[in-house]
Symmetry: C2
Subunit: 288 residues, 2 copies
């Protein structure tokens, strides 16, 4: 059976032949539901009952409109494992605007909490905000190609989850020790930057495999003790921490227990009137 005949037969079964716009919507939905996954053109040819050349043109149109509206980069991969995929990539201008908007919202005296922390929970509760933050992390760490995103319970979970979603990889939550665990687990000690107390973090043995590339995402970094603990923990798993991303980094202390991290925002401290000073990080301003 020739592909043409199959296609024609397919068409007769369907209520009406799809228009370009309709095919584009269906293809866009498939690409956006599973970013980074390579979709073979033949899948779309079958599902949409259109010729391969038509689907190729649909994808070309889609690429242009995604680029124009900053919705991500559609890549075509040739060869035996070829196809198309969506690399979620936020426009630098939009990442900067997001950071500026969040900085403005966080620069509010009512947000100061005891111990030099900032109240961010209301922003981290908003799916549309968290989705944008996750996509900003996925843009910044795009070339690190993580296999898994790690979160430390509790507050960093949504941001880590939306970062994992943008990379289309699993999100695993590290628990504080003493909580329920599932099967054999690895536990390490760490010094929390906030409490200066010795604490423990734990992860089931089956959660991360040897050789995996791990991205750690959290809501706040001060001393870097938690991130340091995650690096130690991953050493026990023989996994590699390929990046650390946080929503807010506090300026003090200057020396952190982890060197290489990306922060969307920097909490500089309070000004003379007792107002918290939060601004986009130099790293955000440098994204090209």
């Amino acid at each position: 059976m020739s592909p043409e005949r199959g296609t024609r037969r397919e068409r007769t079964r369907r209520p009406h032949r799809l228009r370009r716009g309709e095919r584009m919507i269906a293809i866009a939905h498939a690409l956006q539901s599973e970013p980074y996954r390579v979709h073979r053109l033949s899948t779309f040819v079958e599902a949409l009952g259109a010729a391969k050349s038509t689907v190729s043109e649909d994808v070309a149109s889609l690429r242009r409109v995604f680029e124009r509206f900053g919705l991500g980069r559609i890549e075509t991969l040739s060869g035996a494992t070829g196809g198309v995929r969506l690399v979620p990539q936020r426009d630098p201008t939009r990442i900067r605007r997001l950071a500026e908007e969040l900085a403005a919202k966080l620069s509010n005296p009512a947000r100061l909490l005891p111990g030099g922390f900032l109240y961010t929970s209301d922003l981290l509760a908003l799916p549309s905000v968290v989705e944008q933050v996750g996509e900003a992390f996925a843009t910044y760490f795009a070339d690190r190609r993580p296999d898994v995103v790690l979160a430390m319970e509790v507050k960093g979970i949504p941001v880590a989850f939306m970062t994992a979603r943008a990379f289309h990889v699993p999100m695993i939550t590290i628990r504080r020790a003493g909580r329920v665990t599932e099967g054999p687990a690895v536990t390490v000690n760490y010094v929390s930057g906030s409490s200066r107390m010795l604490q423990q973090m734990t992860l089931p043995l089956r959660a991360v495999r040897e050789g995996q590339r791990v991205l750690f995402i959290d809501d706040f970094v001060r001393g870097g003790g938690t991130a340091r603990g995650v690096v130690d923990l991953m050493r026990e798993f023989r996994a590699e921490v390929v990046g650390v991303g946080v929503l807010v980094a506090s300026r003090e202390p200057r020396h952190k227990l982890v060197d290489d991290y990306f922060a969307l925002l920097v909490f500089e401290g309070t000004d003379r009137r007792g107002q918290p000073v939060v601004r986009p990080s130099d790293q955000v301003l440098a994204i090209r």
Copy 2:
């Protein structure tokens, strides 16, 4: 300045006039990023540099293709506050298929945990799975119109978050007492169905407002003690629990501390060979 003239001027500034498919992609993206939010047609007219009649036709095409591919329902609201919005609505067939696939994966002896629990963490780690579960909850609870989705730390957070995303409302996490809290908080006692021990749950006073409609989403229900605790907690906030949704409900005990809940899956127990029996709930099979 007439709208027509504005439109023409807009066009000259742009590289090329957008085609229907391109406009549809842009409109679809706006609707999907913020489900339930009403977008005025005039916003699209301005952003896309197209006539209102053209945008109306785009929306009509979009409605047809969304319906055909089960991507949700696009509603047009008339009047002063009119516009279009996307109501995320999964096709019943797809919800059933999702429940069947998850049930098959969970019916595995390696998933039995001490104490009559099921290992579900690996599935709850996958953003594409969790997104579908969240949209299934949003479909089932569509007419309850929640103002906020509540999660109990830790395992239910991603599912609750993706449900909140589908409703475009905030997701708030209830903490176990004794953990760090932010400002004045309300604490209630509850008996955990799993440990039969008296426990405490706590929520900052500013997290939920009086009169709000609250949807509680969790990963597992056995005795219903946690859900009962959430109902008690919300009474203190003078907020109304309009629904309880869980990924898995255990068949035993038959009598639960909460009557009205929706489960995607039911964990029936183990068969003679020691294999866990998990199946789609009657509620899922009854969705129309």
